[in-house]
Symmetry: C2
Subunit: 376 residues, 2 copies
């Protein structure tokens, strides 16, 4: 039995665009949301692409995400801004916030914009890349529903709290986008959908013991029953658990703390989202000749790629390289969508009164006949 369906980028784009229009977003808004979502799949970060659609669907359905929210700038200086998101769609708030950060950084040299009361905004890296495309260093961070168990704890207190940074380089931009947990919740969701046991060193059950059961860990996270994902560095200080936990706090400072928003442990309670983001844009030109600086970074990246490989390893990647490779491949060869995710897309069609066959093909209907995202 097929475990996935291959769709062209254009097919998924059309489907997503029409879905978000049906949700009530306008044309420009829908374009932004779809671009964030599909860029993730094109980059090969399946955990944050189509497989996350169901969360937006349900977020809107439950009123966590308000389609007609109007963001407000509640504090502003030439180098900073704080945006009250009023429970709007994360991608729209993130896009707007980074636009403001970019504009300010072009004038002043650097800027930080924080956002509170937002929702899941997709891959952090998307916004870092926005700045990078303008020749700037971009950073993007978000807190999230509590999922990281602090070192020596057994209750999730911080989010997956990704930190992304992008900087112009040749032939690929430097592009680093990673959760400060060992893995993301999205990765657990992917393992869950594939019915695969989790590797050792990723997650903790509700008693704070190592667990390989993705379904159980995810249920406990949602039920706030205890357990969660380990910080980068694992459970103990010996391999640096306190460091992953520290980077998680770094993210929290630049998101919830500097926006006076909800910290991860207070988000997603009582029918409220409350996610917070942070965006940084820095113009390399305030440190010298931007072209020379770009060249300097490119040289280091090239030296890294060319440095001696460990036995059995064919190449050393620099950050952003895998995404460029995946992007080209998927634009050409299509995007494989897991059948459980297709089931969620079929449900969404029904919910929005969209023609499944027209958007997703007969195969989608046939293969998902006995599945429903509501069962999961």
């Amino acid at each position: 039995m097929a475990k996935s369906i291959n769709y062209s980028y254009e097919t998924l784009k059309k489907f997503c665009k029409d879905a978000f229009l049906k949700f009530g977003f306008d044309d420009a808004q829908s374009d932004i949301i779809v671009d964030v979502l599909l860029t993730s799949d094109l980059y090969g970060i399946e955990s944050h692409g189509m497989q996350r659609l169901v969360r937006y669907h349900k977020g809107i359905e439950k009123g966590l995400i308000k389609v007609d929210a109007k963001p407000e700038i509640v504090f502003e200086t030439p180098v900073s801004a704080v945006i009250e998101g009023n429970d709007g769609m994360g991608q729209l708030l993130g896009h707007k916030a980074m636009e403001i950060a970019i504009e300010k950084a072009k004038t002043t040299g650097m800027a930080i914009v924080t956002v509170r009361n937002s929702n899941h905004y997709g891959i952090a890296g998307y916004y870092a890349k926005m700045a990078c495309k303008e020749g700037l260093i971009g950073m993007s961070m978000t807190n999230s529903e509590a999922i990281m168990v602090p070192t020596f704890g057994k209750k999730a207190m911080l989010g997956s709290n990704p930190i992304a940074i992008a900087m112009p380089a040749k032939p690929y931009d430097f592009f680093f986008d990673a959760s400060t947990t060992v893995v993301t919740r999205g990765k657990l969701e992917v393992y869950n959908k594939m019915d695969k046991p989790l590797p050792e060193g990723w997650a903790l059950n509700k008693d704070g013991k190592g667990s390989s059961d993705a379904s159980d860990v995810l249920k406990n996270i949602v039920a706030k029953a205890g357990g969660g994902i380990m910080p980068l560095g694992g459970e103990t200080e010996q391999l640096g658990s306190h460091k992953g936990y520290g980077y998680g706090m770094f993210c929290e400072i630049f998101t919830s703390i500097l926006s006076m928003g909800l910290t991860s442990n207070h988000t997603h309670l009582n029918g409220k989202g409350g996610t917070c983001h942070g965006f940084v844009a820095i113009n390399p030109a305030v440190f010298g000749n931007a072209d020379d600086i770009k060249e300097h970074l490119s040289t280091l990246l090239q030296e890294l790629r060319e440095s001696p490989k460990a036995e059995g390893c064919e190449r050393i990647y620099t950050h952003g390289e895998k995404e460029v490779i995946a992007f080209k491949d998927r634009l050409k060869n299509g995007i494989n969508v897991n059948i459980n995710t297709v089931a969620e897309m079929v449900d969404l069609c029904k919910y929005l009164d969209m023609d499944v066959k027209k958007y997703l093909g007969e195969e989608a209907l046939k293969l998902t006949l006995n599945k429903s995202s509501y069962d999961m």
Copy 2:
């Protein structure tokens, strides 16, 4: 046989101060250097305190560190500066650079200062704390001699590349200072001095295989023979090796890249140091009421400390708490200095024509009779 000697803070301060005066630094300069050095021991970060003295000693002796170097600001804007260090003492360059960052941030809201052609500057966190004491968020980073082997590589290409961040909070400031490798080179030096095998998951031998032999790994690092320390997250992507490697690059961007200085893999070659630093200062007041923001962070830290503990764990620490505890303890009860480090201090006395008995006591002479740092 005693493995260490306990010295009071005042005794070590007097010894260090006079040693740096003898090296040719002036009074104010010596005070700064000694404060950076001993703050590390007071914080309980032995790897970067007295046990690093020998590196400064030998750095000055070999001409890597130029006592009379004059730093120059080679590029400057209201939010940034680049300092050419001219091979000066790292602590002095770091202190000056952070002072500039603080001054700029107080005017503009935020600033970044980078330094090139410096030397080892002690604990990164010292400079982050400088900003924190002024009510600002402080960050400090440094590259170093190549020691981190990138994911899938076998040659050290990046430094231990610490990232430190400090932010005002009650009752303790948030203070996170960590290498982006699993552990620092200093930790390996401490294990080496104690003749202890390294835990699994820390270091690689010259062929890129896991090694527990601190002495061998350190020799290979110095000889550029291959191997080194793993990025935070270990050897493979499964536990996030690419993330530690990514944070290492983050550090490299804010140090060598934005200063147009030597990247870690080019430092410490051909009798040249070339270390680069980066300093960030951000005024929380450009995001709202600084007191409210401090309170908000303090609440999260308190919630973390009070959250449920894993079985067998008595407390959850927040970053900076251990340093406060160690600081109080060591000021009161003294600082234990490993006997191999005492031997280095005795050598330094002889080199600088200082009276060992007067500065370090008879015990130091007796216990280090057959030891010399030059043998190690």
